[in-house]
Symmetry: none
DNA sequence: CTCTTTAATGTAGTAAAATTACATAAAATC
DNA sequence: GATTTTATGTAATTTTACTACATTAAAGAG
């Protein structure tokens, strides 16, 4: 609970002197956070230890700690939460809600991610002869993005959002190839099949999906991304953003593993685009 | 401005020792607010007065005052800041940094977005006879995602990441069509051409790009998304996430504008996928 | 009402934390 | 390579917070 509210609540459990301090604090908390214990004691016409005792009574370590709590109360923190868009929301409102829930979900996803698994995946990706990214629907977008990133690394990389191409590609895979299968639900039959086909052909299968799903069971490694389901809008939103950010992590891990020289190469790739662009005038 | 963001922003104006303090603070701000100046100095391997000077440089009265500001920043929503990935980062570290900068950039993007422009764009999209999404490279991914979303709305929607198809499609557009052109830099020549062609053919052109760029000048409406440039890694990361979230907003605005009955339809679309999936057992 | 007990508050001293002044080292400039 | 400027550290000082103890006020028992 907010410490200011707490003071207001417990006002009648305080002793006479403590109440004096409370009054001063409640009347201008923003002044108090910049005052020393002596200044506050003087303003409330009580002694310094009384202020100190007052702070302890409120479950803080002492006066400085109390001021910290007070400062936080004043900043009226609204942490990002998953607020659902409402029927009558204005553009302002639904924009805020969407951005905030996206952030809240990224936070969630980050906490659920296992970095050692990311590390192992990066290992496999750097050693791969060929990398394939498969997804359907919203996850196709993620696969598409992954291709765009890994393509820059000058490694053989393909992406398919077509079931038949995915199957053919999976059947043609071999030891040393890495197949990344992306599906939030982890229940899309054809993708589960593709994962299983790829494994039968000795490819390493990395799944970007939810843990415990049929797809997860077919994979060598599962990168599970937990997000709150966006059930209200009937289309994938936060899940794919989390997946894309995970792709960023894999790509970044890849470049770090490859060392400095490799990154100079990336710069070249970027620079090669220059002639297709209008010059910057500033 | 939030003091954490400020530290992150001014990171390169700091001296060697000051940067050490900054790193420690950024990596776990919530610990710092409970630490004494001596403890912080020790952790950063520098002397106490250096910490003090660091605090003053950030326009605070001294260390205790600095902690107060820090506490407020932490309460104030995001402790997320844009930290660059470092050469020797572990998987744990770069994952955190990437997720956090993505969140920080989403926050930035949200602030820079003009909701009335979003509202106008939604107006145009709901009234459009046909919607086209064009992008190249990383922005092609965004266009791809947009198609995936708007397709569910049962409106004529196309997406191209092929210059020729984009041109042909632009030339065939007409009054009442909406063309959404996506480019973070806003300087990709062929996309600027496409925007211009579409306008010559009386289509309405919405640009998802940075304000003031050549592309922005060719558009009827510009949805500008400001993010800190991710110059260090030579590939687009945060910018496309912000663009995708903007697409979510447009799609959400679209469904809200269309009313309840329309959303029942969305549910049908989602349900139609069921037979392609394994049943959930729980 | 007075004595005893308990709780509340204050005083003075102590410890800890932050800051200052100065010295030294490192970097930048000539 | 010398000189100036800037950055950093050491040690002393000051400020701030806290502790132990003393005093006072309040509550309860006879």
């Amino acid at each position: 609970m907010n410490i200011l509210e707490k003071i207001a609540n417990e006002l009648d459990t305080f002793s006479k002197s403590e109440r004096k301090v409370a009054e001063v604090i409640l009347s201008s908390p923003s002044t108090v956070i910049h005052a020393s214990i002596a200044a506050l004691a003087k303003q409330a016409n009580i002694s310094e230890p009384t202020v100190n005792r007052f702070c302890r009574r409120l479950d803080t370590k002492g006066y400085p700690d109390f001021k910290l709590h007070l400062a936080q109360s004043l900043a009226n923190g609204t942490p990002y939460v998953n607020r659902h868009v409402d029927e009558n929301d204005s553009a302002e409102e639904y924009t805020s809600k969407i951005f905030e829930s996206t952030m809240a979900n990224l936070e969630l996803a980050r906490k659920s991610l296992d970095t050692s698994t990311i590390n192992r995946s990066v290992d496999l990706l750097t050693q791969a002869n060929k990398i394939s990214f498969f997804g359907l629907g919203a996850s196709a977008v993620v696969a598409h993005d992954a291709q765009n990133k890994f393509f820059r690394f000058n490694v053989p990389v393909v992406y398919f959002d077509d079931i038949l191409m995915q199957r053919m590609s999976a059947i043609n895979s071999r030891q040393g190839d890495v197949v990344v299968v992306i599906s939030h639900t982890g229940r899309t039959k054809s993708l589960v099949d593709v994962a299983s086909l790829a494994r039968e052909n000795d490819a390493t299968v990395i799944g970007i999906t939810t843990a415990g799903t049929p797809l997860a069971k077919e994979c060598n490694i599962v990168l599970s991304v937990d997000v709150a389901e966006d059930t209200d809008l009937y289309m994938p939103m936060a899940s794919r953003i989390a997946q894309l950010t995970l792709i960023d992590c894999l790509a970044t891990g890849f470049t770090l593993r490859r060392g400095t020289k490799f990154r100079d190469n990336l710069k070249k790739v970027k620079d090669s685009l220059r002639s297709s662009r209008f010059e910057r005038k500033d």
